[in-house]
């Protein structure tokens, strides 16, 4: 059960939490590691590439045919638009959330003195 493997954790930020809770057993499984293993990244990049390569072999229906003249309207028909869109939208959301966290995050006892 308790396999005391040496944990190869790159993430120093979780050390505090670890020290506090003292888990009864630890494994070095990739799933446990916030910095996902190299093979995970390899798989991730392969799937991403497949999803883009797939686009060469399919015929995409046109979106916003009435707005074809405008760049924004035509944008959704570009090659790889959805991949780029997903990446940019999500990165943007994360950065926005991170920026807003300066103003919006508060300690858990923030509302303790309020009704």
């Amino acid at each position: 059960m308790a396999t005391k493997k040496k944990v190869t954790r790159k993430n120093t930020t979780t050390k505090k939490a670890k020290a506090k809770t003292k888990p009864p057993e630890e494994t070095s499984s990739a799933m446990d590691n916030p910095y996902i293993s190299a093979s995970f990244w390899k798989a991730m990049w392969i799937i991403c590439s497949i999803s883009v390569i797939l686009e060469f072999f399919i015929h995409r229906h046109k979106h916003f045919e009435d707005l074809e003249s405008s760049v924004l309207g035509n944008m959704s028909n570009w090659f790889g638009f959805y991949g780029m869109f997903g990446l940019i939208a999500c990165s943007g959301s994360i950065l926005l959330a991170k920026g807003l966290s300066v103003f919006l995050k508060a300690k858990e006892d923030y509302y303790d003195d309020t009704p």
């Binding site: 930020t13 979780t14 939490a17 670890k18 809770t21 003292k22 888990p23 009864p24 057993e25 630890e26 494994t27 446990d32 916030p34 996902i36 995970f40 990244w41 991730m44 799937i47 991403c48 999803s51 883009v52 797939l54 686009e55 399919i58 015929h59 995409r60 229906h61 979106h63 916003f64 009435d66 707005l67 924004l72 309207g73 959704s76 790889g80 959805y82 991949g83 869109f85 997903g86 990446l87 939208a89 999500c90 943007g92 959301s93 994360i94 950065l95 926005l96 959330a97 991170k98 807003l100 966290s101 103003f103 919006l104 995050k105 508060a106 858990e108 923030y110 509302y111 309020t114 009704p115």
Partner: protein, 605 residues
């Protein structure tokens, strides 16, 4: 059956809920489950059309307005209640079962209400019965959250009531139709705001992530399905094509994502993702075309299923670990693998991954936006679609079941919970693979006839499947690329409820300081300065006046002897202050007074 055809399903559940209250535990739980199944059957037996019931307050109430929209909502409301009750078989709380059934019953009441009075009554019953599901957690936080929840809903109810009364006054009819609501602009605005408060539209959204995560395990599952979706239903009824709903929906969809990314509590993440999903529906109502309305109903249907599933898996984790913060959870896949798999199915469905229910419903709304050339709305909804995968699709399962192993080794969820989750997970995939079953019960289903089979959606339109897949996989990529930024912190996020939580305190202290300082100043000026001066004046003025009048006489008679004049003055003053005068003086004063009265009486007549 003609009898079932004329009984509002709401009555079955509400009356049943109170009968169950007196039964012993096992019978009660079995009865509750049977009741929801019977409710589902009763909904299926309703034939289309409106039924008027005996008059109430001089109006003919329409407790049954049956068409494909109300039936679709009726089906999913009873079905999800069934799933939630199966899930919480081990829940022994008498109050919760009754409150939940009354809540579901009143939601059905709203859905089948054809007039505004019964709509309003059921609407308020929903608010009251749902409050008990938060109170049932029975701790200080939940009591305070329930208090805020009911206050927001009562305020929203009053806004709605104002609008309804104005609309009835203007149109002279109580029928719940778009025409009646739109006759008076003020009435329309009040009704719209009243509904949007329940739909958790920004900025009236914070009650939802404030209250739902404080409810019980069972309460959270039930609550996640009804209040916001009845609001969506009433929007479909009263405001299809109301363009202001498009930006409102888009803002909700994006707002939900940002806050879900900030959150640490897993059930609060799911609460924010409700706002995000309802944003899609609100936007769809705003678009208002046949396709959009069909999409809204389909999305509400699928949303209730996968959202219940997500709340169930979070509930199972909470039940086993008694923790709900991402900073305290992690690594649970080792001992709760079934919950993990089922929860992940819900997470994939909400993200709209192809072959799940989210894919076949969300795309109807985005397609409707595209057909109407609402480019900005389309872009916002696509951002929201990508963002859903980020926060609900990956963040929730990743931080709860994987991430850092916190050493938690809870048992797998109880069998009843797994049964409830399995049912919902099955529906998520079944509807994803066989969309025609869902599409056939939607309003305007005729426009979906050519695109409702597995072949037509997944093979003929494979390009759409591929692009959706591409977008989701790249969204997932950005999650892992930015993982260090997404590290959870033991914090809460400040939302609009700040205004009535902290704001109320500030308001109170502001009012306290302003009015109490005015009070103190008034006390100083009036009580301590003015009134004693007045008293002194009242006492001294007649004496001084008399002394002033008598002084010439004394000077004559006492030949200006200062000491004797002073004595006389002091005597008069002491007589005035004690009120003791010789009889002669009193008689003289009375005579003078009568003389003045007669003089005044004469001059005025």
């Amino acid at each position: 059956m003609t009898l079932l055809n004329n009984i509002p399903p709401a009555f079955l559940l509400i009356i049943g809920a109170f009968i169950l209250l007196i039964l012993p535990a096992t019978t009660r739980k079995a009865g509750a489950i049977a009741l929801t199944l019977f409710g589902f059957y009763a909904v299926s037996q309703l034939s289309e059309g409106s039924r008027v019931l005996p008059e109430f307050l001089g109006f003919d109430l329409t407790l049954l307005r049956v068409d494909s929209t109300s039936k679709a909502f009726g089906y999913i409301f009873t079905l999800s209640a069934f799933g939630a009750l199966v899930f919480s078989w081990s829940e022994r709380c008498r109050l919760q079962n009754t409150a939940a059934l009354a809540y579901v019953g009143s939601a059905l009441g709203v859905v089948f209400a054809g007039d505004m009075i019964s709509w309003y009554l059921f609407w308020e019953m929903m608010a009251i019965s749902s409050t008990f599901l938060i109170l049932a957690r029975n701790n200080k936080r939940s009591r305070l959250a329930a208090q805020r929840y009911i206050l927001v809903h009562l305020a929203g109810g009053l806004v709605l009531l104002t609008g309804i009364l104005l609309a009835i006054h203007e149109s002279g009819s109580i029928d719940f139709t778009k025409e009646n609501i739109y006759q008076n602009a003020t009435a329309k605005n009040f009704i719209l705001i009243g509904i949007l408060i329940n739909a958790a539209a920004v900025p009236f959204s914070s009650w939802l992530p404030d209250a739902y995560p404080e409810s019980t395990v069972f309460g959270g599952i039930i609550l996640s399905a009804y209040t916001t979706k009845t609001a969506v239903y009433t929007l479909v009824r009263g405001f299809p094509g109301e363009e202001v709903l498009i930006p409102i929906g888009c803002i909700m969809a994006v707002y939900g994502i940002i806050y879900a990314l900030l959150e640490n509590d897993m059930r609060r993440i799911l609460a924010y993702s409700i706002i995000n999903q309802v944003g899609f529906m609100v936007c769809g109502v705003g678009i208002g075309t046949k396709l959009a309305i069909a999409g809204v109903v389909a999305h509400a249907f699928c949303h209730i299923i996968y959202k219940s599933l997500l709340w169930m898996s979070a509930g199972a984790v909470l039940y086993r670990t008694n923790k709900s913060k991402c900073t305290e959870l992690g690594g649970l896949y080792k001992t709760m693998p079934i919950t993990m798999v089922l929860g992940t199915i819900g997470a994939l469905a909400i993200s709209g991954v192809p072959l799940t229910s989210g894919f076949i419903s969300k795309t109807l709304i985005t397609a409707a936006a595209e057909h109407q050339n609402y480019l900005w709305a389309w872009l916002a909804l696509e951002v929201a679609s990508a963002g859903v995968f980020l926060h609900a699709g990956i963040k929730f399962p990743f931080f709860v079941f994987f991430n850092v192993d916190r050493g938690l080794r809870p048992k797998e969820a109880p069998r009843a919970m797994i049964a409830g989750m399995s049912l919902m997970a099955f529906l998520c995939i079944y509807l994803g693979l066989n969309p025609s079953h869902l599409y056939s019960i939607l309003p305007n289903s005729d426009i979906l006839v050519e695109q409702n089979s597995f072949y037509e959606i997944y093979i003929e339109h494979f390009d759409h499947v591929a692009t959706m897949f591409q977008m989701l996989i790249f969204s997932g990529l950005s999650f892992f690329l930015f993982l260090p930024m997404l590290r959870r912190t033991p914090t809460i996020s400040i939302d609009f409820d700040w205004f009535y939580r902290k704001g109320a305190n500030l308001f109170y202290s502001g009012i306290d300081k302003t009015f109490n300082s005015i009070n103190r100043a008034s006390e100083h000026i009036v009580i301590k300065t003015f009134l004693p001066a007045l008293v002194r004046f009242i006492i001294n003025a007649p004496a001084s006046l008399t002394v002033m009048l008598l002084r010439p006489l004394w000077e004559e008679s006492l030949s200006a002897d200062k000491t004797s004049i002073k004595k006389c003055e002091q005597k008069i003053i002491s007589q005035f202050s004690s009120g003791t005068f010789p009889v002669a003086y009193s008689a003289i004063f009375i005579l003078i007074f009568i003389g003045i009265l007669i003089f005044l009486g004469r001059s005025f007549s």
